[in-house]
């Protein structure tokens, strides 16, 4: 739990401070507020549209718009890196969702999804409860009620990168020892190794299917049990018809 808060603190510290160029000090129209309301409205509106839509592809598209509007909010807050990440990971990742939606609904049956009234009620209650909890939590933080003022941590990418390789660039908690272990290197490494494992697993699952060559021993088991020499003779054509790893396994199978 403390870990999450620490991870967030660098983002929120960035988010709460507004940079000079995007927040001009103006009298008549406060563009910053206008744009904030615009993006926030877009994000919320499209989020509702995701739920209300009945077509999977449209849902995915509305989700894209909602996430893109959130990226706009991040840019507005001066968190360039976070905004670009939002575009790259969330909006770009929804692309795959969209593709799946298209593949699922290119045929007729799934084109329209209409949940029943009880489903809607249940989802509404769950959503409202979560919203209430989040609202209460957000309002309870004193620092978030005041307008953000203060020093601008302008280049957001460099401190984030430094933090990920183990250097704390934000204010460390009082009394924390200034060691190299105070950064976010461990979570970063764990996540990267995790992603590597996922990548290897995906490559394994998606690899080209080898042609199923019956192992010599299976072939022999189905017929009369011959001598050892016949086993090797049966293994030879199997090796010839396959190549690479397939041939090797056939050979090993024959050798048993």
């Amino acid at each position: 739990m403390t870990g999450t808060i620490r991870m967030d603190s660098i983002f929120t510290s960035v988010l709460l401070h507004l940079p000079a160029p995007t927040a001009p000090v103006v009298a008549a129209v406060d563009w910053h507020s206008v744009l904030f309301l615009l993006f926030a409205g877009l994000a919320c509106g499209f989020a509702i549209a995701v739920v209300a839509a009945e077509n999977v592809v449209r849902m995915a598209l509305y989700l894209v718009f909602s996430l893109a509007a959130t990226a706009g909010l991040f840019f507005l807050a001066g968190a360039d890196f976070l905004g670009a990440m939002q575009l790259m990971i969330y909006v770009g990742g929804t692309l795959v969702l969209l593709v799946f939606g298209v593949m699922l609904t290119a045929q007729a049956p799934l084109v329209s999804i209409k949940p029943s009234a009880s489903d809607r009620a249940l989802a509404g209650i769950a959503g409202a409860a979560l919203l209430a909890v989040l609202l209460a939590a957000a309002v309870s933080v004193d620092a978030w009620r005041k307008p953000g003022v203060g020093e601008i941590p302008s280049p957001t990418a460099t401190p984030l990168g430094m933090a990920l390789v183990g250097v704390r660039v934000d204010d460390p908690p009082a009394g924390a020892p200034l060691t190299g272990r105070s950064g976010y290197m461990l979570p970063f490494e764990i996540v990267s190794v995790h992603l590597l494992v996922v990548l290897v697993g995906a490559a394994y699952l998606a690899r080209a299917k080898r042609r199923k060559t019956p192992r010599a021993i299976d072939v022999l088991a189905s017929s009369d049990p011959p001598s050892q020499g016949a086993v090797l003779a049966a293994a030879v054509p199997a090796v010839r018809t396959t190549s690479g790893a397939g041939g090797k396994s056939a050979l090993l199978g024959g050798g048993h």
Binding site: A28, V64, D80, M88, L98, V99, V102, A157
Partner: protein
Amino acid sequence: MAEFLIGFGLPGWLAWTVAALVAAVLLLNVIAGGALVFIWAERKIAARIQDRLGPTRTGGRFGWLQSLADGIKLLAKEDLMPEDADGLLFRMAPYVSFCASFCAFIALPFAFDVVGQRLNVGVFFVVAVLGLEVFGVILAGYASASKWSLFGAMREAAQVVSYEVPLGMCVVLPVMLAGTMDLVTIGEKQSGWFINWYLFHDPFTFVVFWVYVTCAVASVNRAPFDLAEAESELVAGFHTEYSGLRWSFFFMAEYGSMFLVSALAAVLFLGGWNGPIPVAQLLGLSDGTGDSAAYAVRLLGLANLLGKATLGVLLMMWIRWTLPRLRIDQVMTTCLKYCTPIAAVMFAGAMLWQLLLPGGLLPGFSRPAGEIREGWLEGPGGRPAGSAAGGQERVKEPLRGSQAQSAAEAGAGVDSGLATRSPR
């Protein structure tokens, strides 16, 4: 510019609005005007490569008004929509494509400090937004309710998602050399003679540039990677059902993206707005100051960058009319078996080169040793050339100092921690 308008007595909010609108309209004109010129160029180049003349009559000589005539024709065309189409998505798709292409231009610098919005993560932003263009294509393919469109869209999705990987790896190399993702700083670090361009930085960047070219052509869906609109197989692919102005939006997006990846290549590898010969520097002029000479230098830089980007687009056209289209398995093989491993190896190689030969092969030729890294690694003294000249870097000097100090302390902390631990 907003400050300039405020100086004329405009209220602040209006000045900012006007400044933003001017920037937006200028960028829009880069795409629209560029498409106008490039479509004509494409016709002429295609014709020459196929031993024809191409347009010769429209607008007098060379058929230079052909694109305008095309535009008028497209305006006058009937706007068709298939009966089974998903109307909302069908209408929305061209704009999604075009908006993605347009948004990426916001962070692209055209000369020193001539940039819509200077972003600290410029490279990343451009690559991220460029990847969103495919949304329009997929939506068009789905909403058209035509199997040809759907095939084209699915191919495009597979291709773009795959090619983002090697493209990202190629882009990382100049970022690593410059030590920043800010496109303005990356361009400024390659100032001086052409030998300072990252293309000639080391053999690895030279190789990776060509990988970038391959991936860029693939990611903007140009021949020989134009499987999404393979005419001989899919009628016209994802835009089979489109006509008139909607169709032209797809084409504007395509030409805009072509120009964008070319300009990005120019900034990342080919010195950006710095010409091969630093004419302005030899004359003793700088683009960092605020006087009129600086604006002239920036104008020269603008011409440089536009010229390089145009060369890139012409190269893409040359490739298109020379090479035959690849099959989908060949496209995937090129990406996964060639581009990605080559880019990865080149990345490791460039890293080693940077460690072993930080000054390059010709030490002291014209690359100042102190400017290779961003300031926070050098301590308070060193600043990148761009920020020193333009004063645009918003980093505060004490912050850099304290960061370097805390980094040093952290390093010392590790050492002492190890020292206290070892007796146990």
